[in-house]
Symmetry: D2
Subunit: 345 residues, 4 copies
């Protein structure tokens, strides 16, 4: 199958190229980049030397539709929604990695992203692309909204509890630690090496745009409001997200129940690895891979469950997850082309 990547010069676009290079069923037939139109892919990204003849093009809907049957859109929010309707209308399937179709309510979108949504009618049609909770819907979707990196890690850690009804009105604290590639390729002081190296700091406290996404999905699973206090931190590493989640359990659940809740929930999920009680994940064990590692500890005395999850923000948190969704949409093995283990050390 021929696929296109719209916005291929950013890190998630480049990661799609890397992943698809070894995918047995897919050929990348069309890649675009606004600023770098005309430039060779391998000149911008030497690690993509395998695409020696490939050039970034300026986006053109007709060209895109002629070149490929499915498109990954790896543009910033606000830009995606300018193109996605055209691609869908032209008969292409679309996996959008931006935030434009992750929420279902245009008002909430406007409140957090500061933009009027230009295709609100598609917000309901889009399927939230987290295969571990939405596999069947993804299989039949034309438009998949690939989740944000933080929500992927946090929801995978908390979804079993939410569905089981554990995080009640007290909600959850999500303390997340992210590598700097989450900030993308765009230059900023926060992502300047000399500022970020050797330092850790919280940012966007109480204001990060991934908060409504987490609350929306977890509340849907729980069937009631699940408030999330979310604090992201920048960690001096390139890749990886660790979320440490704190859920007030009171005396409601036992260790065995927790084990069952997670075991049952992920019984069919090839990319979730349960480390179990007392074992905790490290981001490096999933570096470059599509896996998510989860471990937990129940502090019975203080009535608190601590759950931690680790993913690679650019793979399971973005491009790998998009490919996983594509596999499901195409009826292929969910893990096709994504089996590679993490790069360690």
């Amino acid at each position: 199958m021929r696929v296109g990547i719209i916005g291929a010069s950013g890190y998630t676009g480049a990661e799609l190229l890397r992943i698809l290079y070894v995918h047995p069923e897919v050929e990348v037939a069309y890649v675009t980049a606004h600023t770098y139109a005309g430039k060779m892919v391998a000149d911008l990204y030497p690690h993509l030397h395998g695409y020696a003849e490939m050039q970034f093009r300026a986006f053109d809907a007709d060209e895109a539709l002629a070149a490929a049957d499915l498109h990954f859109v790896a543009l910033p929010h606000g830009e995606s929604m300018q193109l996605v309707p055209q691609l869908l209308a032209g008969g292409s399937k679309v996996l959008d990695l931006s935030a434009d179709y992750r929420l279902t309510d245009a008002e909430i979108y406007k409140q957090w992203y500061g933009l009027e949504h230009t295709s609100p009618q598609l917000m309901d049609k889009a399927v939230y692309g987290l295969p571990e909770i939405n596999g069947e819907l993804i299989a039949g979707a034309d438009l998949v909204a690939v989740p944000g990196c933080y929500p992927t890690a946090a929801i995978l850690a908390l979804a079993p509890l939410a569905r089981a009804g554990t995080p009640g009105t007290a909600g959850a604290v999500v303390d997340a630690k992210s590598g700097v590639s989450g900030a993308g390729r765009k230059l900023s002081l926060a992502a300047h090496f000399s500022q970020a190296d050797g330092s850790v700091r919280p940012y966007s406290v109480g204001a990060h745009r991934h908060t409504p996404e987490m609350e929306h999905v977890l509340s849907s699973l729980a069937g009631k409001e699940v408030p999330v206090v979310f604090t992201p931190h920048l960690i001096p590493m390139s890749r990886g997200i660790l979320t440490t989640c704190y859920v007030k359990t009171g005396t409601e659940v036992s260790g065995v129940e927790i084990e069952d809740i997670y075991g049952d929930f992920y019984a069919q999920s090839p990319f979730v690895v349960l480390l179990g009680s007392g074992s905790f994940p490290e981001t490096k064990a999933v570096c470059g891979s599509n896996y998510c590692h989860i471990g937990w500890h129940l502090d019975g005395e203080r009535g608190m469950l601590t759950v931690a999850s680790a993913i690679d923000n650019l793979v399971k948190g973005a491009s790998g997850q998009a490919v996983q969704c594509m596999n499901i949409m195409q009826g292929w093995d969910e893990a096709l082309g994504l089996e590679a283990l993490g790069i360690f050390p």
Copy 2:
């Protein structure tokens, strides 16, 4: 004044040597190291070339007492209590950087450290060396138990709230991120470069020995039990601790009250820098310095206060704090020799 450093070959010992090198009132007259007795200080630590003639010695109580009037003890827990009584009996003042005299209850000590305390009678006599809460007691002390690095960061973040009565029975979540030097100079797989680099992970979840120290001090300040759920994380950087603390406030307090609580509490503390509401600390801004930066955010909607503090674990979290206590014990300016700003970038 001549001082001694017992256990000077570890990182906190070396850091004492670094700090005292520019202290105007102190001369380091005696340094010991078990394994490295006979070795030149500058051979083990090239950055300490300023001590070109200094040699590590094997500890001898008589020599120690003859050489110096005040001793820093930078030994592992369990080893400190073998020496401290002798030094005190010989008339020396002692600043102990181990955990041996931080708790007041020998039973709790045994429970967390697995050792019978050999000088329980000194546990009550020792003053907990956190100048921001115990300044007057430190001034009159002979034996100061210098706090652990995590408790220093967490208590400085939470003490104003504890004294004001805010973290009630709900207690606090302390999610701490530490540089690897906190693990000391002792080799371990966790501190092996290839394992720690490019990775973040929680460790000792629900079992870290600094938990009772935090709970003890915060409960004392609050006048009631303050349970602390503490999760330390290893961050790929050498120095620095960031604690992100979550306190359920309900609708009890306003933003102005929080501001006043912190402002009043630290009005006389030269080493605490309040960044205020909406500003958050980064560890690198205090690297190599004795300062603690604190910022917070009150999420009124979700009834949660997020407070973050940053220190250098080897300075304010260990050796700098010890020197600060020494200054107070000697009646000198609290900040003497400790004024240097953080190394950034």
Copy 3:
């Protein structure tokens, strides 16, 4: 084909497991580890969760020969030569990643490694496993000595010049920069995070054991003595080697000739990517991959050619190269299972 990995608990052993996990023709049937015999692979290395049922075993020659037809030996030098003769005698093909069969002269081996070689008769029989210069010999070999990481990078940078006769009696300066994983999983102060992080330093200056390997291979290619002044440096990163090589050219060669020399030499080498004149490699572009990037600059005024090469020390510098050799020995496509591009960023 069933293969065995002898000494699978070190970093090169773990890397073989990672690489072979996606190799279409190979099943890992036998893994041994001395210290960790009986331990589950995934407990030691969480990133290898795909080998959920696999256990490290204690080495037993009969078991090894019964289980697999080809063995990778990832033991320290001196230990390899204790096993390799048995494996060969039993009919297994062997790829040895240690230094034991890289040199051809038992005296030079003894001089640099301080050990009497116990199977000197195999030193001549072994083929030096650098496919870019020895492809045909590897195809027919039973015993392949996989090159060291530094020699791989340095020889790939210099081999075209050596064969063309350029580095004459003046020889070459090889200034190499390596990630810390090159030191292996064994704990040491040099590889302790707090010592290595944020620092760069030379080590083993004038005494590194990879020196004779470089001189031997380059001299063979040149047909005359090529002295190499080799200085390795430790870089605060996990993976990657960059060698910067300085070759006195005088006025002997032009830029076009250099271009031709490299282009001709590597015309058939799928893993060598020539960046050309004025473009220089970065280690991260080959991270996790089997590729080698090479670039150069000819300073005509000062008569000096600067050539730089980048590899991943654990892949092209060890385990990936071993798999590449295996592919050749088996008559498979040289690149089978090794096509994945570098992980960037």
Copy 4:
């Protein structure tokens, strides 16, 4: 004495503020920044909280001259020369950290920096501010051109040999490894965390502007042309430069002679620490300090001397060196305010 810092918002400006904070004879009375005029210093640089009341101002020559008697100019090359003549004419002493007055020939300046020099008459008057070779001239200077970071490290490594006549027409290879802060605070892809982290690469090969500065100074010392082949590399760390220098010695010198050459040359230099033969520096041992560590190895067999030096690029490579020069100009102890040892680990 009241001093000014022109261009204080960059890293070398901030570093001057950090260093001067503990300097006993100096008060910073005036700081300027173009982009940040009006902004509080501590808001831009939280580590400079000690300057709580200080604001960046827009440069005004009259204000500058009224406020301070000596000015550090920490502007980019090309901008310095716009101001320096005014400051000098107004009676201020000037320490310029840019490249504008480091060379003596306006033609060579134009060739490497692409600019017409606007005050060539000052190029001869300016003293090159490397105290270890120019102490007496600095003492009498009004205008000091503080050396570049790479030339400082390379010249300190090679100056004794140059004066002794060792690096002859063959010259020297200088392979330098620099932390990323050397690129300054200005955003660039090369200094973007995700690009630089976990990677090492050469840059500006054969074209770095510090080359003529090294050749100029070393040739002056040698009394003959000393060609330098200089290759800088970017290392994933914030601070520090290591230069590894290769000098063809033939059979001219013995180990003892080398030892004497260095010992004699630096007998009066408080900031140069000779580690001697066989001991090599690490950048972290001088982090945050004004010291330079030097070690070497003589390979008699291959006729090559390898010398390595380590400095902190922002201290001895820039701001600390400027303060050292100021001390000399004022007749103070050369080391005043600069005694602090390196931050390790």
